[in-house]
Amino acid sequence: MFAQLNSPLQVEAMTQALLEQAIAQSCRALIGKQQQIKLALTCLLANGHLLIEDLPGMGKTTLSHSIAKVLGMQYARIQFTSDLLPADMLGISIFDNQQQQFHFHPGPIFSQLVLADEINRASPKTQSALLEAMEERQVSMDGQTRALPSPFFVIGTQNPLHQAGTYPLPESQLDRFLMRIQLGYPDKEAEKAMLQQPVNGDKLILETVMSCEQFIKAQQEAMQVHASEAVLNYIVRLVTFSRESQQFANPLSPRASKALLSAARGWAFINKRDYVLPEDIQAILPAVAEHRLRSASTDIAAQGSLSKILLEAVDPLVN
């Protein structure tokens, strides 16, 4: 009886330890960005796609690359350019002369973790093809539906809007990314540590910490994390506030509230808890909600801190 009761907990603890290792490993590649790495992992645990938005050279690619490596996922990178066609990404059917039939050559999207680099450089047509694949987790071509591998994650990176020569993602499409994070500049200490790192040849060698199967299991366990009624009420009050307040032009949709909950579960799981706390929601809310909200006022300065406004308006304790 005792053993039975304990065994799931032990398994959970094991998975959590593995995740901790994964975070530690990734941190080696991206010094001083533990918070972002944890958020990224949370996003994957919640089975959502991640959008990283920052200036070039901040480590967007490194982050995704190291996550793929650590989690042992099959990894592909697609560099989005304005002349990238959907077929370049999805794959193409080529007529095989010898066998007298069409052969499908899968594109880079048929990978478990796809880095869609500089997603806002691609033409809207290619963007929409990618977003469709993200949503459906399958690709329809030539009247045939091909399932994408499982797990399937897209980490999109995007340059901020004011960069020249970009096609900004429409707001409706932004919703498909569970989280949007910004990496930001490292602090002085971290930057120094990064510079001090010994360079073995060209690349830092990262260990693969967990297998894909283990990660899927971790996902399942994370979604079992208990969310009490108080937490659900808190989410509802946050979302309702965004709808009732005059400060937001785009309020949070029901999809956003679902995203909040699953991300909070993932965050709690990474923090080795089997229940969600208001702090979990507060931690992931900027990443989950910021890109979904739009300020009602035209003042640009207000745009960056919408989730802060939202957080500070709602008391997590009051019911």
């Binding site: 208990h226 009490s228 108080a230 937490v231 089997d274 229940y275 969600v276 706390l277 208001p278 702090e279 507060q282 957080l311 500070e312 308006a313 709602v314 008391d315 997590p316 304790l317 019911n319």
Partner: protein, 702 residues
Amino acid sequence: MQWSVKFWQRETTKSENLPRPIQAKNPAHLFLAAILIVFTVTLYEQVIAWISLLVVCAVVIRSAIFFAYQKHLPSMRTLNLLAILSTLGLLYSAWSLGFLLGMINLLVLACALKLMQMRSQRDFYQLIVSTLFLLGCGFIFNQSISMTIVYSVLTLMIIVALGFFHAPSLSLGQQTRQLGLLSLQALPIGLLLFLLLPQLPPLWQTPRAKTAESGLAEKITPGDIARLSQSSALAFRATFADGSPNHASRYWRTIVMEDFDGRSWQVHPVRKQQRLLFQSMQQEFNPVLSGPYRDYDIIAEATQQSWLPALDLATPLGAKSQSEIWQSNDFQLISLQPLVSKYQYSVRSFIAAMPYQVLSQFDRELNLSVPKTGNPRTQTWIQDLRTLYPQDTVFTQALLDYFAGQGFSYTLRPSAMFIDPVDTFLFDTRAGFCSHFASALAYSLRLAGIPARLVTGYQGGELSTKVNQADYISVYQYDAHAWVEAWFAETGWRRFDPTALVAPDRINFGLRQAMQEEGSFLADSPFSLARLTNIAVFNQLRLWLADVDYNWSRWVLGFDRQKQQDLFKAIVGKLTPQRLALLGLGIVSIIALLLLLFFLPHWLAGRVSGPQRFYLDALHALSKVGFSRPPWQGPQDFNDTVAQQFSAEIKQPFAQLTALYLHSYYAKTSSAEKETSQTERVTRQMKQHLRKLKRGLRQVKP
């Protein structure tokens, strides 16, 4: 340049203050329809047939609209026409009905029409109020427990209908739950008001319903009581606080008949006139009262008559009974109001006071008059007998001996006697019912010059004794009986019951025993519970029902000023104005308290309980020393800030409190059985930590 033209302008809509229309498909309407039809059924005797038919029509129309078989209400013009026609019809038939029934029929009619026509909120409310009023009126006619239950259900249905009207999209279950709770809350308050608000005497004379009289008649032709003996309906119940008389001496005098026409006995018209005269002069008859007596209460069923049964020489007891009951010169109790519903009164009976009464000349003449002609054989027989026994008592004994010795038999199925009935009975058939015997005896005594009269009433009754309640006797219609009273100079009025000579079982055990051989007891109603006394289960059921009905009549229907005052006395002791004022104050505060009690949970619902309360208390304590949580901060984050700010005495208990709070409020709760003990433990621990925290904080304060 072509400017596209847009129509910005919009007509503004003007709304008028029309009565607010109502939805056609509200369950409230169906409820009202059901209520009306059930109510009409319960008053099937009082409501005129064609009005009942109109009610059915209204219900059909409403239901058709509700179930969408029909889209439109009948037009206003049709309804107005219908209203005029039926009012005329009612005026025509109401002539014979009297005021009360006329009003009730009018109300039922109005409700039916309203149900057909109901379009606006106001119509609905009017219909609700009229239906409630009708329900109240229904209690005039129906007071039994079963009917009270039916009417209570109807009242609840009206409340539910109101609920549906104001919250149309709640389900029936939710509706009944909400409003049932509300009614349950209202019930104790209503009862309290009923028990403790002063019962007032009637404020003015109220119109009475004209309905068929029941029970004993003012005129009997021998054989009539045989009809009554086929009824197992209750006549009255008498409660004896200290011991009841035995079966043989329970002669419930009800109607004294002094006028005999050779066939029938009836209340003497002269006696009636005399009573009216005395009543107008306020000269009540005062019999000479002495000797042992017995006090008891009687609850009489509605008879629509004024005669009240009582034992021996009875006088009304208590202010209420004295003011409502008239003592007649023939030692009879007469209610000033006909008994339209159950009536309770208190009586004191003097068992041995009869010899002390005087016989006036008027009474003597009344009780000696016999028709000159008819029954020739009896006349000659009495003349012969009288010459043999000139002494009154001896003569009477001889007469009784004749009844005892000449092969008379007691039967519920006497043969018809049309010509000279006394002759036929005495010398030919010699079989009859109590009235035959009594009639023959009284007639014979009168012929012999002894003042005599026929008394009808009830004999016997079923005694019910229980440990915790006073003895009571239920008297049914089949206990109806007739006997004779004769006047002798030495003994005054004496009771003679010839039936007792022929069928002693009738007097000692009741009709059931007496009729065992003949098998004629309640022969017309084979399934009556009273007939099935041989089967133990049925008999018990019957007795139990009688018991319930008795208590209902005595304590609910019979709750009057007297009982209320007894209650007050039981509560406050002596009835002084101050104490009564205090009592009034007490009632008001109890009602207020009850109301508060009912709604405390609602107000507490907004408040927090359990672990959260302790946590919030802790937060409050911290804010008192100037360290409050930013309103958006989560508990764990706040704990971290507290840990940075305060010393161990404060931060440790607070950390414990936070941990317990988080655990109980956010973590997955374990299985249900553990839960209660665990909550208790958590509560205890939190209490401890809170105390520690407060102690720590006290040191912080300057």
